[in-house]
């Protein structure tokens, strides 16, 4: 890394890597919220994914299985949330917060004997000569598979929400669960599946932190990435491609902050650390100053549904 001047290509490449965990978690949460469920437990699911992915990868010595394990860990935790909010109709905000605290505690319990171990390396996808293109090669062709997967996932979610019947039903459930029920859609089942998807993606994002970004296990390794993911969903006004923009913006600030620190900048890093959240607030203010449904939030967001009569 250049110390005096920051190489822009390396900066872009590293922000792409830095934003992978929040892209995955945010796109999962976007699907959950589109179905009308507000799961504030993203941080908890991420860190469960981080430890489960880490343990799986270390025990099997297979980095790919590690991501599967991470997704499974996140999904397992989200199942608790789904059971509490969809079957027992518990308050979603309180349950989500509890999920985060539970996930943080459980992950450090599981992770006790894994501190200080190196996980197996997740290799770059070999693009051959493409990777050697000056500049472009660093930005586009020197990443591991999860980076490409996360972008494809956004495209897939965007397509499904916009074009596919599954996405239409999902939006319908999040928009007006009473009407969806009256038409014969299984509101709770659809929401359960959305919550599991959200949990799996958060878990995978968490696994990326412990297997690639850091890569090792320490307590509280996600360090608020889940909260950033939640903010990005709102920042993106529930539109998939804007999640990418938001994640790169937030990821970029994280990378810039590290680089500036390394470059010995005189600006206190705290300003940069708080800037993503400040930007979110500013965006929210700008969006909500417009008239009508500018915010684009699903109408039934956070409301529990119980089929009566």
């Amino acid at each position: 890394m250049d110390f005096g001047s920051i190489n822009p290509f390396v900066l872009v490449a590293s922000l792409m890597v830095a934003s992978v965990p929040i892209i995955l978690a945010a796109i999962g949460e976007l699907v959950v919220e589109k179905a009308g469920v507000l799961n504030l437990g993203v941080e908890g699911m991420m860190i469960m994914g981080a430890i489960c992915g880490f343990v799986t990868a270390v025990e099997t010595s297979n980095p790919y299985l590690g991501f599967v394990g991470g997704a499974a860990g996140g999904a397992a935790l989200s199942l608790i949330f789904a059971f509490l909010t969809q079957s027992l109709l518990a308050n979603q905000v309180a349950t989500g917060l509890a999920l985060t605290l539970f996930g943080l505690g459980l992950s450090s319990l599981i992770g006790q004997s894994y501190v200080g171990i190196k996980p197996p390396l997740t290799p770059e996808v070999p693009f051959g000569p493409l990777a050697d293109i000056p500049g472009l090669g660093v930005v586009l062709f020197q990443h591991d598979w999860v980076v490409y997967f996360s972008i494809l996932l956004i495209a897939a979610v965007a397509w499904v929400l916009k074009k596919a019947r599954l996405g239409l039903i999902l939006r319908a459930v999040g928009e007006n669960h009473e009407a969806a029920h009256a038409l014969g859609y299984k509101v709770q089942r659809i929401r359960l599946l959305a919550i599991l998807f959200g949990g799996a993606m958060a878990g995978m994002g968490g696994a990326y932190i412990s297997l690639v970004r850091v890569p090792q296990w320490t307590d509280g390794i996600t360090a608020g990435a889940g909260w950033i993911a939640l903010a990005i969903v709102v920042f993106a006004s529930w539109k998939p491609w804007r999640v990418l923009v938001g994640a790169y913006l937030f990821g970029g600030i994280t990378v810039l902050q590290l680089n500036l620190q390394a470059a010995g900048s005189s600006i206190p890093v705290e300003y940069l650390s708080m800037s993503p959240y400040l930007i979110t607030i500013v965006v929210l203010v700008i969006m909500s100053s417009g008239k009508g449904r500018a915010l684009n939030a699903p109408a039934a967001l956070g409301q529990n549904f119980h089929a009566s009569r």
């Binding site: 319908a172 928009e175 007006n176 009407a179």
Partner: protein
Amino acid sequence: MSAEKPVLLSVEGVTKGYPGVVANADVSFQIRQGEVHALLGENGAGKSTLVKMIYGLVKPDQGRMTWRGAAYAPPEPRVARASGVAMVFQHFSLFEALNVAENVALGMENPPPMGALAAKIRAVSDAYGLPLDPSRMVGDLSAGERQRVEIIRCLLQDPKLLIMDEPTSVLTPQEVEILFRTLRQLSAEGTAILYISHKLEEIRALCDEATILRRGRVVGTCTPRDRTAREMAEMMVGAVLTPPEKGAKTEWPQTHPALEAANLTVNSPIPFGTSLKGISFAVARGEVLGIAGVAGNGQDELLLALSGEIKSDEGMVKATGVGVGRLGPNDRRRIGFVAAPEDRLGHAAAPDMSLVENAFLTGAIRKGLTNRGFIDWAAAREFADRVIKAYDVRTPGSHVAARALSGGNLQKFVIGRELSQSPDVIVINQPTWGVDAAAAAAIRQAILDRASEGAAVVVISQDLDELLEISDNFAVLNEGRLTPPRPVQGLTMDQIGLMMGGAHGMEEVHHVS
């Protein structure tokens, strides 16, 4: 005439119970192909549960249904739809943030791709004279247009039986005419229609047969054309109904009208609301002014402006000649105003507060329920209990949260609370919305009683029959403007329709064939 047609759906001895209630007990009836069959009954008579069983949303505990002679027990709406049953819901099952085509697709089993579907929607809507643009957001449509979305969603599935739950409650007379023409066309093509309504004149005009439910049981059948609306109402209620009687007119000595609006112009505080534009009327003591109009034409705003929730210029609202436009709700209560808004849960009543607390909230000033700034709970409870008793509010007690009451019961409580405050000026939006026939009659009678005691009354309603029954003068609110009030005596339906501004651009498509 329908007797020769084969039976389409037969319901035999169907029973459905919920904890503490029997919604349907041993209900049997038949629908023939192409027949328009009315299902009549008061609120809670079990009409909705019955049609939900036919549509597969609810499973019967006992009894059986046959569809074209074969056993029929749809486990879910999908199966019912596949058999050819379609339903238009009372509260529209539409998604505001989705467009028309997406809404239609959600109600279909195997919708074609969006482009083809849009073309189909256009074709069907033209064939039945119900123009509709598939790409518009449902949130931007009028109530009449939303209903078209529901109907077209059903028609695209080529239904054999179309169930309509209270379809005309939000339509103007002209829109109702268009709807009836569509339904008659469908019936002539062989589609049976199961029509739920409490508007008896409409049922007489449209339906071939009627089954009458009371407390979950079939209490009679009739051919609506051969009965009067009064006879059918009495079969529904099981008692002889007395129409509200207007008390003897007293000439109250007065120099100024009790309530006057003079060029009342205010902006709407409600998103997508309708601002009031130059509204003028005067109501004398003992007089009832009925204000009709399709929902969303400024009814809510008018109530807010009269109750004091929206303030206007001093002289825009006057009580006995004195400008009160700047006074807030409590100051207006002090000088004799009471108001009952339409939205019962959340506006007229605080959902999670008890009936005592809700009684206190508006009654505190006029009933003197405070003592040196503290709540006089005993007096508040007594006031709430008195309202509950006088207006036959069915509740275990006044300690119950407002949310726990059924809509009709809460409505009785809210109206009763206002009318029990010996008011001089009464403003009510939708006094009998969702209330059954007997209770509606009681509420109307109570309003007339207050009027004959000398109160000036403004009733805003979408039920024309109700307004014509109790009003002395009649006006229509249209896009925030009020037509000049006219005496009800001698007013014809056609004149009313014209006052309502025709069918609001809902004219039928006259296509050249």
